[in-house]
């Protein structure tokens, strides 16, 4: 088996974190890289001491761990902004407009750059409240099941992954209960494959045993 079974339904939390690390974030570096950073994914201008640079989150964390930069907390993750998001979350039916990777990014920053986050504890609490409000919203999505689609704008990737097994299964089962209009079957019944050498010769069997 080329891919373990548990990897087959969606992405793992670690993979989602990996993807979040590709997002750009602002840092104040304390080193001088002297030259452009020629990465496979693109070129970044030189890092200069005390100058703001936008870099991928994985790089920010790597530099932070070596105490070579400070990370600037993204605007949406400040107390004011989170309070507003929480209010929106409680007042409106749709998800508030948080970044796609908000949960993973927040988690990574709280873990690796806590000293760069003003009132980190309050941020943590707000994030927890937000998460709960959004979870119950995601749960309400069940009401929308059974249509030909469900719309969930501004839901985060980590949140998608949490509801994915249940929602895809429920959606699939409901589709099957609809009277079949499956004239547009792309595949139809599969044909056996003939490669012209399918018959078994004893010599092939012998060689495979060696």
């Amino acid at each position: 088996m080329a891919l373990p079974r548990h990897l087959k339904n969606g992405l793992t939390p670690l993979e989602i974190e990996f993807l979040a690390e590709n997002e750009l974030i602002e840092i104040a570096a304390s080193i001088d890289s002297k030259q452009n950073l020629e990465l496979l994914g693109g070129t970044l201008p030189p890092l200069k001491p005390l100058q703001m640079s936008k870099v991928p989150l994985w790089m920010a964390i790597s530099l932070k761990k070596k105490q070579k930069c400070n990370i600037v907390v993204p605007k949406w993750m400040t107390i004011d902004s989170l309070q507003k998001s929480l209010k929106d979350e409680q007042e409106q039916e749709v998800f508030s407009a948080l970044p796609y990777h908000y949960m993973e990014t927040a988690q990574l920053l709280l873990e690796n750059a806590c000293d760069d986050i003003p009132s980190a504890d309050a941020v943590r609490t707000l994030l927890k409240d937000l998460r709960e409000a959004r979870q119950s919203k995601a749960r309400k999505g069940v009401e929308a099941l059974g249509l030909t689609y469900i719309q969930m704008d501004h839901i985060g990737l980590m949140e998608i992954n949490e509801i994915r097994p249940f929602f895809t299964k429920a959606f699939y089962e409901l589709q099957k209960l609809r009277p079949a209009g499956d004239a547009n079957d792309v595949y139809g019944a599969p044909e056996p494959y003939r490669d012209g050498s399918a018959s078994l010769s004893s010599s092939m069997l012998d060689s495979s045993r060696q």
């Binding site: 099941l145 209960l177 009277p179």
Partner: protein, 139 residues
């Protein structure tokens, strides 16, 4: 060689008269309906567990109906049955019931295992049970 699915010979062996009612396995009914060579004059009756009484019960309060008692694969069999006969009303009833119960299942998974919830969860059919086990995020 005799055709395995030759309904005439099956009927001949059973000496059925027109108007007789017999129970046959679902797969055989499907074969007969789909048989490429002509039609066998036969009506398929809707099983009792999809009958008016159950439908009314599901319409009134879907979450109290004890599905395993009726048919352990209530919904799964429903999808097969609906491919065989056209019954949009039944499809609608099943769809609505499935949705209503799904929501309830979520709530129950959330609230944890009190006796009330155990009682409800025992009323789930196989498909609903599968869904429930996938509801990891909310448990």
């Amino acid at each position: 060689m005799e055709d395995y699915y030759d309904i005439d010979s099956i009927l001949a062996e059973d000496q059925l008269k027109a108007g007789s009612r017999i129970d046959i396995p679902f797969w055989l009914a499907r074969e007969i309906v789909d048989h490429p060579e002509g039609t066998v004059p036969m009506d398929i009756e809707t099983p009792e567990f999809y009958g008016p009484k159950v439908r009314n019960g599901l319409r009134a309060e879907a979450t109290v109906v004890d599905l395993p008692k009726l048919c352990p694969n209530f919904f799964r069999f429903g999808t097969h049955f609906l491919q065989l006969i056209e019954d949009n009303k039944l499809a609608k009833v099943l769809e609505e019931a499935f949705k209503a119960r799904l929501q309830r299942t979520m709530d129950h998974t959330q609230s944890g295992g009190n006796s009330n919830s155990t009682e409800y969860l025992n009323r789930l059919d196989e498909t609903e049970r599968e869904c429930r086990t996938l509801n990891t995020s909310f448990s």
